[in-house]
């Protein structure tokens, strides 16, 4: 329920930075704090996953009978026989130079795997976030503008309900109804998982097949995420609606529609857009769940698979990667804010 509480005004201390260099100091401060957060994530990832239960070398051999010498050789290969501080130093320099380690499971560099899985995730998350944002902002605006009406109550009720529904359960339910053939709908209306069927044709046919596979995961994603945007947009527009400038705008004789679009929504968008960026952590959570349920070959399912092994370098790298993407989005929000709202950072 982060919607009300994560509304933080970016850097109030810098808000009156003074004429010369105010914006520069604001930007430098944001950049420095993002870099500090990233470093903290990298360092804590090492220590967090170093206490994982289970011997990674044993996991690597999948319980096959392996001699002591072979185990020792594997340990040496992955640097697990080194003292902890040495492992940490190697890890830190590796991370900073873009080397995320080698996956125990696939025996290839983790960066390679992440690069492979990045595109499907971006496709899924990007599409879903765009639809969710558009839908949420539009419905939220309408709900607030006609507050207390039937539309508002239905919209808010639906949003709150979808918000309370666990993401993974909604996905499972959609599979049962639209893909498994239980109930009135024929089996195989939509695929139960994956991104593309093996016998898919090339070219435009492949694109259509991917689109077909995307329908259910994207629906799940949108259903869970748009509710939040709707509620944020609704409450920030409600905040604006008591303002005097709207009375002025009406007194000028502007049509209701123009008052809404040119004045109220424009101001209410500021906190909402920031929140869309700031709450990207929830999008990451949604990615993991939706991809797991629909076996979508992206980063989320990669993370879930790696957890089961456990594939230490992979889990570690994904943890850093997910956190870094959220930090990056926060930074973008902070950098966008002075552009959107001239009162900040000048």
């Amino acid at each position: 329920m982060a919607q009300e509480t994560t509304t933080r005004p970016p850097a109030p201390a810098d808000a009156r930075g003074g004429g010369f260099g105010g914006t520069g100091r604001y930007l430098a401060g944001r950049l420095a704090s993002a870099a500090a957060s990233l470093l903290a994530v990298i360092v804590s990832a090492f220590f967090l996953f170093r206490v994982l239960p289970g011997d990674p070398v044993r996991a690597m051999t999948h319980g096959r009978a392996v001699s002591r010498e072979q185990l020792e050789a594997l340990r040496a290969e992955y640097g697990l026989d080194q003292p902890l501080w040495r492992q940490f130093a190697d890890y830190l320099f590796g991370m900073l130079s873009g080397d995320f380690g080698t996956s125990y499971q696939y025996r290839v560099p983790v960066t390679e795997l992440i690069a492979q899985r990045l595109a499907p995730t971006l496709l899924l998350v990007g599409t879903a976030t765009l639809i969710a944002a558009a839908l949420g902002l539009w419905l939220g605006t309408r709900a607030a503008w006609y507050r207390g009406g039937v539309g508002d109550r239905v919209n808010t009720g639906v949003a709150l309900t979808l918000w309370s529904v666990p993401t993974f359960w909604l996905g499972l339910l959609l599979i049962v109804v639209f893909a498994s053939g239980a109930g009135p709908l024929p089996s195989g209306l939509f695929p139960t998982g994956g991104m593309i069927s093996p016998q898919a044709p090339d070219g435009i046919g492949a694109a259509l097949d991917v689109l077909h596979h995307m329908v259910l995961p994207v629906t799940t994603f949108v259903a869970v995420v748009y509710a939040q945007y709707l509620m944020v947009m609704r409450s920030s527009l409600l905040d604006e609606m008591g303002s005097d400038y709207l009375v002025t705008a009406r007194a000028k004789g502007l049509r209701d529609d123009l008052v809404r679009r040119r004045h109220a929504v424009r101001n209410a968008l500021l906190p909402t857009v920031t929140l869309i960026f700031v709450n990207l952590g929830q999008v990451v959570a949604g990615t993991i769940l939706v991809e797991t349920v629909f076996s979508w070959p992206g980063l989320g399912s990669l993370f879930y698979e790696a957890l089961g092994v456990p594939d230490l370098p992979m889990v570690q790298a994904m943890f850093v990667f997910f956190s870094a993407s959220v930090i990056l989005m926060n930074l973008i929000a902070d950098l966008l804010y002075p552009l959107l709202d001239p009162r900040v950072g000048r």
Binding site: A36, S37, A40, P166, L172, G281, L289, V326, I327
Partner: protein, 303 residues
């Protein structure tokens, strides 16, 4: 809420004031129908969860002792059908409510206690220690919650306590920020200065003056947090990170998926636990919003 004129018997006056405040709170709360529905549903769920041991035991819940038909659709004998071990889904649903409510409430308690502690201390003392604390809070706020909870649940051993900790430790930063902001507002009021002038120490001011004034706002946040915690609990259980020996709604869903209920369309194995999670989470959210409406006059005017 703020201090009134001292009276001959301070405790009596204080209790009368609290009763009045409570009555006023209830009067405002009653005006919100959605909040009332939520409260009624929660009372029902709470009653069911508390009385469950009276008529349910290992006989019905154990995989070995279950004697029902396997994966039978709903019937008179088994109103919600049975699972792949022959256990009645209704029994699993009732027993699962205990786990979900307990973990949701405990995890919320952990995160609210931690958040309130950090928020009040940071707000009261200020200075560099507060800066450090708020930096740590901000850093936790940035981490993707589920990823951190998964990491913690993986690292620690599989138990209920682990799930409580994993959820509690990821959810506290929002409370900490809220409490700190409210602490700063309360500390600027004259009666804190008066308490300080009368010789009240840091602990006295924080516990006797700041905490009671911060708590009402925290209450609304807490109620909303329970909803998130319950969904988070089911999510962790679904990902196989919960205690496998305990019956819980999320765990039941995971078993359903493992038993192939999704592809074979065994809807009665999937629908009830998910609906129950959503219903409890929604009830807590409705209550939380109603409380927020009562306590935050700006929201009330806007309605």
């Amino acid at each position: 809420m703020s201090g009134q004129a001292p009276a001959p018997v301070p405790t009596d006056v204080a209790w009368a004031r609290r009763r009045r405040a409570l009555a006023a709170f209830w009067r405002d709360y009653r005006a919100n129908p959605a909040g009332l529905y939520g409260l009624a549903a929660l009372l029902l769920f709470g009653l069911v969860a508390l009385t469950a041991p009276l008529y349910l035991g290992p006989q019905q819940l154990s995989v070995i002792h279950a004697d029902g038909p396997v994966l039978a659709p709903p019937s008179w004998e088994y109103p919600l059908g049975t699972d792949n071990f022959g256990r009645s889904m209704l029994d699993l649903l009732i027993w699962g409510s205990r786990m979900s409510l307990a973990v949701g409430l405990l995890a919320t308690f952990v995160s609210v206690a931690l958040g309130a502690l950090v928020g009040i201390v940071a707000g009261h003392f200020g200075g560099w220690s507060a800066t450090v604390m708020m930096r740590i809070t901000d850093w936790f706020l940035v981490l993707p919650n589920l990823v951190l909870a998964i990491a913690l649940a993986t690292v620690l051993s599989r138990s209920v306590a682990t799930v409580v900790l994993a959820i509690g430790l990821t959810a506290w930063p929002t409370t900490a920020r809220l409490v700190r902001a409210q602490t700063l507002a309360v500390e600027a009021r004259p009666y804190i200065e008066r308490a300080r002038a009368l010789g009240g120490g840091h602990a006295h001011i924080m516990v006797r003056h700041v905490l009671p004034n911060v708590m009402p706002l925290v209450l609304a946040q807490t109620t909303l947090l329970v909803a998130t915690s319950i969904v988070a609990e089911s999510t962790l259980a679904f990902l196989g990170l919960g205690d496998p020996t305990v019956v819980s709604w999320g765990g039941t869903l995971q078993q359903a998926r493992a038993a192939g209920a999704v592809s074979s369309g065994v809807w009665w194995y999937l629908v009830p636990p998910g609906l129950a999670i959503a219903a409890v989470a929604l009830s807590f959210t409705l209550c939380g919003r109603a409380i927020e409406n009562v306590l935050n006059p700006r929201l009330r005017e806007a309605r």
